[in-house]
Structure formats: structure tokens, C-alpha cells
């Protein structure tokens, strides 16, 4: 999509914006206020509220769906417009319960704000009210239909951003608007009212309950108190809550969030997090980000003997094993410990990613992938995902994939061995390939085959790609118009007439086509692939590749890195990667990690002989991520700060460093010491911003620099069938959505269990509880059916570090297993 800069005039102010940008966004980016309730940035305009009525070149238009053209003249306020807007707010206020004091949105309610902004001080409309029941849609969603103004923001965000499409408008059963208002009410207000009287929000699956990933984004975007988190209902008022700008640390998205804290209750005056808020116009959270906030290490006192023991343990340690939910500062401290004491640092997820990045840097000539997710979401219209379970792995990768389908009118390929019923619903042009585990290289070769500029490909690769093409014949059915003679009886005269008619008929025909063996190998429809692909490629300009965790945990990761580097070079394709866990990217850059874990092990939020733990179950307590300051590296290569939301009374890693004589006064003093040669900058923690501008520009920390090096020129290897798992029971290491680590598991609003997940059919076969046998080890798990999965592969979660599932799987995310009923 092209982004030409143009100038439009809004209320006499010249505004720079891009061609095709909506006028509303242009105005917001330039600090001009146009009221609007139903519009969400990054989503399609709903046109439910009609408040953003403006005059564009003298004509009435809605700012949220009018695209800016060069030289456009916009007037945002005139008598007619203000009358329309006031009437619309009056309509919204009709029968809206006057219980603001009870409502959870009281104080940050857009209905309240606009009613005051547009100076509604009397009411001229009336209609009989409809009884609307309050409902709990899921374990986290609470819907009070009585408060709903049907702006459809929840419906829009669920469809365009999240991709669940779990909500829709349903019949309200309200009275019809009195016809007499047609004369007295302004046009738009009347039309809006008619629509409002007919609809209400309902789950889209036709039941009382939503079947979605429980991300709670709908509660965030709700302008009134209609949609709230069940746990938060009537607990606190927005103005009592202290907003702590922070970064969500559950996955590598590193979304900006606000922890909202307050004293717990009258009896317990300790500070507690009540909910998590986000800048929903620019960031969309997942269920873990929004609901897994209470993972703090509570009631910790300074235990000097435990600290001494920890210091001794570190001095005598052979290995420090740690989880990826550590800040850059902590990672740096661990690296310093390694430098001084020579112990090993073990973090399997980050190590796999580190090795992959090394191989990638070797092949491509730069240390990091060139693009970021925000960029591809804005610009790309064809997105390919290889090796990530979109629904489970990284929520933002999924949102980006979905958003490109919906907003950029895009298309997408989804390569993954585990069948998914949700991804195909993201858009009409989404083509899913359920290939065999281990065959990710074939997917990358297919991308090269389809998208590469052949001139840029090395000869060896080109020849190899040609071996996958065959001329074959297929029979197609074709519509042919055939002339048929029919006899008709004329009723009036009783005469028979012969009438000639043309009737369509299907004729089978054999034609020659190019058969792509790669498509066949990946489980695609090779016969019709040419047509499907041609359709998908219509009007597509900008392409993106999302490389997922499966590629880092792959026996041929080096070859995959080469292929990705080659794709980047030859396909004009934007490339992004999803680091496997929270701060895997930061850890991979800062620490020199080792491949194995030996001898006496210190476990930092990980299994070990001496455990430092922020979960409250270790030998020495550590602060959880919502109790300490620090920086993270997100998958957008941004180094972002997070603040402490809650108090912590114990020791932190820096205290241990101080005992060893290597510490700083404060943990955040390590921030400016992060390795510049790896792309970090010497920036003080307190100088890092953490906010968004009105036009959506991210002002959070700083961008990692990409380090250039010499690229090697060796061709990728050919496909190797020996690593492809094609038969037997296959297990896939994959967490349920909303579960990432022990910390999400600790949160009281995350209900996903540590269980084996399978498609409903497979789950029925397996029974209630199974033992999964790996090479030399086994694990016993409950079986849960996931109705959005299909196929026979089962998912085994790894979010409980104590179970050490990652070691069961070793270097791949897939494993051949034997599953026995227990």
C-alpha cells in the first residue's frame, strides 16, 4: 500500500497526512478534535454513532470513513453539524439508566463525556424501554445490556483485530421509533435511533456464551459500562485507581499496559492490582496481558540467612538455569556472574533462538530481522506465517495476521502441522497448509518458488525449485450453454409449442496444468493451486513473512535461517520473527548461553538445586515482574521499560550482586550498561518514555540497532525427508492461549489447565487421562478437548517450569510419542 504524503485543511489548519488515510485519523494525528464513539483506529469504520459528521468540500461526510484527498477542505463544526451531534447524544441518553453512581465506567465514560461536551441539558425524545438482561458471557466477560449503546466497538475489535468474531448484533425486540420524530429529529439522529432500537450485542455462535479466546479486548474498548470484566464489576471506581505505566511481560509482544492499583479493601490496606488497561487504539492485549496481573510475590520479608545461602550457592554453582521472564538488567547480571565465576547459563528457549539468530546473521549479514510487526500490520497485504501456532504462540502475531486480512484486504498463507479451525475464518483469502511436522523447509522453498525474483536466486536453488514442477493433466468441469428444444403446452389455446432454450450444462474436460510438488508435499490442493494463488495475488503489493518458534526448534534450523535470508534477499518480503518466550530476544542478545545444564544448578524461576523464585516457592524470594523496574526487548526490537506496580519487601538479584561485590545501588543502574555492541544504547532507565502519540507513534524506550556483518554465500540444503515425522502419535509443545508461564498460571483469572489438548474427536478417543511416553521419559496428563483444533496431533503445554516439558521435547517442538490411557 502506497503512503503518499498529502495536505488537507481541517478548520483552516493545514494538516499533513497520507493519501487514503481517514479524515478522522488525520485530524487526531494533528491534534484536532472530532467527536466519535464507534470508530477504532486500526479497525474498519462501523458508522454506528455518526457523531463524526463533518463537511468535506461542502458535502456532509463521516470523518471515520472519508478518505483524505489532496487539498480537501474539512469543516468540523457548523450549526447543522452541532445540532445533529447534540440530537445523537440525546438519543443515546434516552432510557439510559441514570445509575452513573453504580456504574463501573463512571468517571471515564464516553457517554457521560460527550453528553457534557455537546451540552445536552434536556431531553426531547422518548420511547418505551425494553427489558434487557445482564449476562455473563464467559468466565471473564460481563455484559449489562441495559447500559449498552450498541456502538459495536466490541464487535468490530473482535472481528478486525482479535479475529475471534465472537460477537455480533442481534435483535433487541425494542419498540419502533415514533414516526413523528422523522420530522422533528435531525436526519442522522433519526436513522441512528432506528438502528439502535433494533439491535443489541449477542455472542455470534447463537448461544448464551461466547466461544472465544477470552482476551477481554471488548471490555477495554467499551465506551460505557456495558462490557466489563467479571472480576472487576462493582469493585472499585476508576478514579481511585493509580495508573502505573508498564509493559506486559508474559510474551514477547511486550505490549504497553497500565496496571491499575488501589488498596485492597478496608480490612487490608495493602496495594493490589485491580485490573489492566491498555491504549486500545494502538495496542491490543491478549487474555494473559489483561487478566494475568496478580502474579506478584506477596508478603516477602528480607531473609538474611536465605540471602547468604544464595550467595554461597552461586559461588559453588555449575549452572544457572533461568526462565525467559527476566528483565534485560537481570540477564546482564547473570552474564556478569558467568564472567566472574564461569558457571554455565542455561535457558533452552532463548538458546534455540540465539542459535537461530546467529545462523540468520551469518546467512543474511545483519544481526536482527529487518522489520517489525507494527510496520507489516500497517503496510502489508499478503502475510505468510510459517512455524508458529498463530492461535496459541504469540497473540500479536495472530492479531497482525488477522488485521491484514480484514483491514488491508489481504491474503495469507498459514503453514502449520496442527490443524486449526479459527485461522481459516480470518479471511476469505487465507490458505492453510497442514504439512507434516519437520517439513517447514518445504514451506520456505514454496515461498521462494512463488514469490522470488528469479534473477536474484542462485542457480542451484533455481534448478532445485524447477524439479518440483511437473506438467500434469486434470479434468475440470466447465459450464457450457446448450440449446434445448422444449415442448410447451399453451394453456389458453391448448396448443403445443416448441420453444428453444439455452440451458447451462456441466461438461468434463481434460486440461494440462502445472503441478507443484511442493504444494502437494505440504498438503495443499496442488490441482487447483494455480487458480487459488492467482486469486490471492490480485492487487497485492506488499508481502510479509512471520517466522515462528517451530523454525528455531528445528533440527535444520541453520538451513532454515539460510532460506529466510534468501527469501528476504530475493522476494522483496518483509521478515519478522516471534521470539519464543517473554524476553528471549533480550536474553539471546545479552547472555552467552550454554547448551546443557550440568552439576549443581541454581534455578531462577526454573527448576534447580537451589531455587531463586518469584513464585514464592523457592529458597530465596525474588520480585515478580510487576514488582520491579527493568527493561525488555519486544519482538518489535524495541527496548521498553516497565515500572513496579506493587511493593516488594525482599531481596532482588542486585542485592545478591552487592553481596558478591559486583552490584549497583539500584537495579536500573544496569540499564545503561547493556551491551552497545549488541545493539543496545547507553540510555538511563528514567529517560525512557513509555507512551503513544495521538497518531499512534510509539514512544517507548528505543529501537535496537541492527549490527551488520559479512554474509556468507552458501546455498541452502535440499529437503531431507528423514527429519519429517509422518506417522505415529505426534505431540506438539504448545501452551493453551492465555497461558505462557508459571506466572500466568498463578493468576486467578486464568483458568486454562495444565492438560493435554486435542481436537474433540481425538480427545474422545483418548479418554480422560493419558500417559504420554517420550524417549525414556513420560508424563501423565488430563485430556482436554479444544474445539478449535483439528487433526490428530496433540498439544502438550510447557508453562509449568517444574514439569520441565521442554526437556522432554529436546530440540524440536514436535516429538513422536506413545499415548496410553490411564
Amino acid at each position: 500500500m502506497s503512503r503518499n504524503e498529502i495536505t488537507i485543511t481541517i478548520d483552516g489548519v493545514e494538516c499533513r497526512t497520507y493519501e487514503g488515510e481517514y479524515v478522522l485519523n488525520a485530524a487526531r494525528a494533528n491534534g484536532i478534535f472530532i467527536p466519535a464513539i464507534c470508530y477504532l483506529t486500526r479497525c474498519s469504520p462501523t458508522l454506528a454513532c455518526r457523531l463524526c459528521l463533518v463537511e468535506a468540500d461542502g458535502k456532509r461526510a463521516y470523518a471515520c470513513n472519508t478518505k483524505a484527498k489532496d487539498g480537501m477542505q474539512i469543516v468540523t463544526q457548523s450549526e447543522e453539524i452541532m445540532e445533529e451531534r447534540r440530537a445523537i447524544m440525546e438519543v443515546y441518553d434516552v432510557n439510559h439508566p441514570l445509575q452513573c453512581g453504580v456504574c463501573d465506567q463512571h468517571g471515564e465514560c464516553e457517554l457521560q463525556n460527550y453528553t457534557l461536551e455537546l451540552e445536552v441539558d434536556s431531553q426531547r425524545f422518548a420511547i418505551a424501554d425494553t427489558k434487557r438482561e445482564t449476562k455473563n458471557w464467559s468466565s471473564v466477560l460481563h455484559y449489562d445490556a441495559g447500559l449498552c449503546i450498541v456502538c459495536e466497538r466490541c464487535v468490530t475489535v473482535c472481528k478486525d483485530m482479535i479475529g475471534d468474531s465472537a460477537l455480533k448484533t442481534g435483535p433487541r425486540g425494542g419498540a419502533a421509533v415514533d414516526k413523528s420524530y422523522k420530522q422533528s429529529a435531525p436526519k442522522d439522529a433519526y436513522a441512528m435511533w432506528n438502528k439502535l432500537q433494533k439491535s443489541i450485542i449477542v455472542p455470534s455462535n447463537g448461544t448464551e456464551y461466547t466461544n472465544c479466546s477470552d482476551c477481554g479486548e471488548c471490555t477495554a474498548v467499551c465506551p460505557v459500562g456495558a462490557l466489563t470484566e467479571r472480576d472487576f464489576v462493582y469493585k472499585a471506581n476508576p478514579w481511585e485507581l493509580r495508573e502505573v505505566p508498564a509493559t506486559c511481560t508474559h510474551c514477547s509482544s511486550g505490549c504497553q499496559i497500565f496496571y491499575e492499583t488501589r488498596f485492597d479493601s478496608i480490612d487490608n490496606t495493602e496495594e493490589k492490582i485491580f485490573r489492566v488497561k491498555n491504549e486500545w487504539n494502538y495496542v491490543s492485549l491478549c487474555g494473559a496481558g489483561r487478566f494475568a496481573y496478580d502474579f506478584e510475590n506477596r508478603d516477602v520479608k528480607r531473609d538474611a540467612t536465605a540471602l547468604k545461602a544464595a550467595v554461597e550457592a552461586i559461588k559453588g554453582a555449575d549452572t544457572i538455569r533461568f526462565g525467559s521472564m527476566v528483565s534485560n538488567e537481570e540477564a546482564l547480571m547473570l552474564q556478569r556472574l558467568k564472567e566472574k565465576f564461569g558457571m554455565k547459563l542455561y535457558n533452552p528457549e532463548a538458546r534455540a533462538f540465539q542459535k537461530f539468530l546467529d545462523a540468520y546473521a551469518h546467512a543474511s549479514g545483519h544481526s536482527l530481522y529487518p522489520n517489525d510487526f507494527r510496520e507489516i500490520m500497517r503496510e502489508c497485504d499478503f502475510v505468510i506465517s510459517v512455524g508458529s501456532k498463530l492461535r496459541n504462540d504469540n497473540p500479536n502475531a495472530r492479531y497482525v495476521f488477522n488485521n491484514i486480512q480484514k483491514i488491508n484486504k489481504g491474503a495469507g498463507f498459514y503453514f502449520h502441522p496442527v490443524g486449526d479451525r479459527l485461522v481459516p475464518t480470518f479471511g476469505r483469502s487465507v490458505e492453510c497448509f497442514e504439512h507434516r511436522p519437520g517439513d517447514e523447509e518445504a514451506a520456505l522453498y514454496l515461498i521462494l518458488d512463488l514469490f522470488a525474483d528469479r534473477k536474484k536466486l542462485p542457480k542451484g536453488v533455481l534448478n532445485y525449485l524447477d524439479t518440483f514442477h511437473e506438467k500434469r493433466k486434470k479434468t475440470v468441469k466447465e459450464k457450457v450453454m446448450k440449446e434445448v428444444v422444449e415442448k410447451l403446452l399453451d394453456k389458453e389455446t391448448g396448443e403445443e409449442k416448441e420453444v428453444k432454450k439455452k440451458v447451462p450444462q456441466m461438461v468434463e474436460k481434460e486440461i494440462e496444468y502445472e503441478h507443484n510438488l511442493l504444494v502437494e508435499r505440504l498438503g495443499g490442493d496442488a490441482e487447483n493451486f494455480d487458480e487459488i494463488f492467482a486469486k490471492m495475488m490480485k492487487k497485492k503489493e506488499s508481502f510479509a513473512l512471520i517466522a515462528g518458534e517451530d523454525l528455531f526448534f528445528h533440527p535444520h534450523y541453520e538451513n532454515i535461517a539460510k532460506l529466510i535470508a534468501l527469501i528476504e534477499k530475493s522476494c522483496s518480503m518483509k521478515v519478522v520473527m516471534t521470539p519464543p518466550k517473554s524476553n528471549s530476544l533480550g536474553v539471546a542478545l545479552i547472555c552467552e548461553l550454554d547448551d546443557e545444564c550440568e552439576g549443581y544448578t541454581i534455578g531462577y524461576n526454573a527448576p534447580g538445586d537451589f531455587r531463586l523464585s518469584a513464585l514464592g516457592d523457592g529458597d530465596l524470594d525474588m520480585p515478580a515482574m510487576n514488582q520491579q523496574e527493568g527493561t525488555f526487548v519486544t519482538m518489535n526490537k524495541q527496548v521498553v521499560p516497565t515500572n513496579a506496580a506493587l511493593e516488594y519487601g525482599g531481596y532482588e538479584l542486585n542485592d545478591i550482586m552487592n553481596e558478591l561485590g559486583m552490584g549497583r545501588e539500584l537495579t536500573i543502574e544496569w540499564t545503561q550498561e547493556l551491551p552497545v555492541e549488541k545493539g543496545f544504547q547507553c540510555v538511563k532507565f528514567d529517560e525512557m518514555p513509555n507512551y503513544y502519540l495521538n497518531d499512534g507513534t510509539e514512544k517507548r524506550g528505543y529501537r535496537l540497532a541492527t549490527i551488520k556483518r559479512r554474509a556468507s554465500r552458501s546455498n541452502p540444503k535440499k529437503l531431507d525427508d528423514s527429519i519429517v515425522i509422518s506417522e505415529g502419535d505426534i505431540a506438539y509443545r504448545c501452551n493453551p492461549p492465555r497461558q505462557f508461564s508459571d506466572f500466568t498460571d498463578k493468576a486467578h483469572q486464568i483458568f486454562e489447565k495444565f492438560a493435554l489438548r486435542a481436537s474433540p474427536e481425538r480427545a474422545q478417543e483418548l479418554g480422560e487421562r493419558v500417559e504420554v511416553l517420550f524417549d525414556g521419559a513420560s508424563i501423565v496428563l488430563d485430556v482436554e478437548a479444544d474445539d478449535r483444533m483439528s487433526g490428530d496431533i496433540v498439544e502438550i503445554p510447557d508453562f509449568k517450569s517444574g514439569e520441565d516439558v521442554i526437556s522432554l521435547f529436546g530440540e524440536s517442538r514436535y516429538s513422536k510419542v506413545t499415548i496410553k490411557r490411564v
Binding site: G101, V102, Q123, A126, I127, A128, V233, Y234, N237, I266
Partner: protein, 207 residues
């Protein structure tokens, strides 16, 4: 308007009228003379006359002015701002407080706290309400801001007890159910003005 009036902060000499008390005695002789004069004139009994008159009234006419506190109490003005009262709805007897938290927000001494929860009837229940009377400055803002006239000031001015919390929970401040009939409206800040109807625009209803 000139601000001179406000700028003159020397309030000590402003508009004060000195009492004419005559000359004070200076020498010892003059002082002696004054004592003798007062004794002989029996000025003392002029004062004692008032005392005896009131004593007579109290003892024989049953017209006593002394209030036997704490057995007796003076009536106080209805707008007096002492310990808070939580009012009930007259019809149902349910407490009026809706738990909106405005009193908590406006309280300048930051002494009010409310716990609310989502109850079984899908309503906001005030599970606990406290005022820390160690901090309360009885400014009356809470009563003024309350949209339901639920919290008002009462006339209970005795605030000594063994525990500060003794009269500061919802239970303590609520009108006892058996006294519901005697519950009266607080006429102070926050009460509806007598001409409130004239100032409100009516909302049409379609019933």
C-alpha cells in the same frame, strides 16, 4: 473594585471602640481608696443579688438553667455537622447508599473508604463503609456531594470512645430500623432546595 480593603492586613487597629474604663489607680493610696470605696458601697452584693435570684428561681420556681450534662443535653441546630448518619429508604428500609464513591473522592481529609461488591441480585452492594473520625474535619463535603442524600451529618457530637472505630462503620451510622419512622431529612448542604422543581427540565416518558 478596589482591593485596598483587602490589602490592609493591620486588623488590630481597625474599627475597634475602646471601652471607657476611667483612670486606673496609680499610687498605693489611690489603690487603697478604691478598695475601701468598693467595700463600703457593697458592690459585691449587687453581683450576689443575681446569684440569689437565680438560686431562688431554681430551688422554688423550678426554673433551672444549668444543664445536667451528661444526663441532660442541649438541643442543637439541625444544620450542625457532627457524626455522620447513613439514611435509609423510607419505603423499603434498605440503605440509600449506592456505593458510588463520590464521598470517598471528595473527602479532603481522605478518611472515607467504601468496599463494594457485585451481589447475588446483580446489584452493587456496599459491603463495608467506614469513616476514620480521627481524621474527619466535619467539613460536610460528603453530605453535599452525595447524590442520594444517603450520608448526612447528625447531631451526635460526643466523639470519645475506647476505640476510634466505635461509631464509624455502616452499621453504626445507619438509622436503626425501628427508628425508621422518625428518620428526618438533613436540611444542610446537599439537601434539595425548596424550589428544586422549578430548576429541573422534565424528561418526556413514553408510558
Amino acid at each position: 473594585m478596589s482591593l485596598e480593603e483587602f490589602k490592609d492586613r493591620n486588623i488590630g487597629t481597625q474599627n475597634y471602640r475602646m471601652l471607657d474604663l476611667g483612670e486606673s489607680p496609680k499610687s498605693g493610696m489611690e489603690k487603697f481608696k478604691q478598695v475601701v470605696e468598693r467595700s463600703v458601697k457593697l458592690e459585691l452584693f449587687t453581683g450576689l443579688k443575681v446569684t440569689f435570684r437565680e438560686m431562688y428561681k431554681a430551688l422554688f420556681k423550678k426554673n433551672m438553667h444549668t444543664v445536667k450534662y451528661p444526663f441532660e443535653k442541649m438541643p442543637i441546630a439541625p444544620r450542625y455537622r457532627a457524626i455522620h448518619q447513613m439514611k435509609r429508604l423510607l419505603e423499603s428500609g434498605h440503605y440509600r447508599c449506592i456505593g458510588c464513591g463520590l464521598c470517598e473522592k471528595i473527602c479532603i481529609a481522605n478518611c472515607i473508604r467504601i468496599d463494594t461488591r457485585y451481589d447475588e441480585n446483580q446489584r452493587k452492594e456496599v459491603s463495608e463503609y467506614t469513616i476514620n473520625f480521627g481524621r474527619c474535619i466535619f467539613c460536610g463535603y460528603c453530605a453535599e456531594v452525595c447524590p442520594e442524600l444517603a450520608i448526612v451529618h447528625g447531631g451526635r457530637y460526643e466523639t470519645s470512645s475506647e476505640q476510634r472505630a466505635s461509631f464509624s462503620t455502616l452499621e453504626d451510622m445507619l438509622t436503626p430500623l425501628e427508628q425508621l419512622a422518625e428518620q428526618s431529612e438533613f436540611p444542610g448542604f446537599g439537601a434539595i432546595s425548596p424550589n428544586a422543581d422549578e430548576n429541573v427540565k422534565k424528561t418526556p416518558l413514553a408510558y
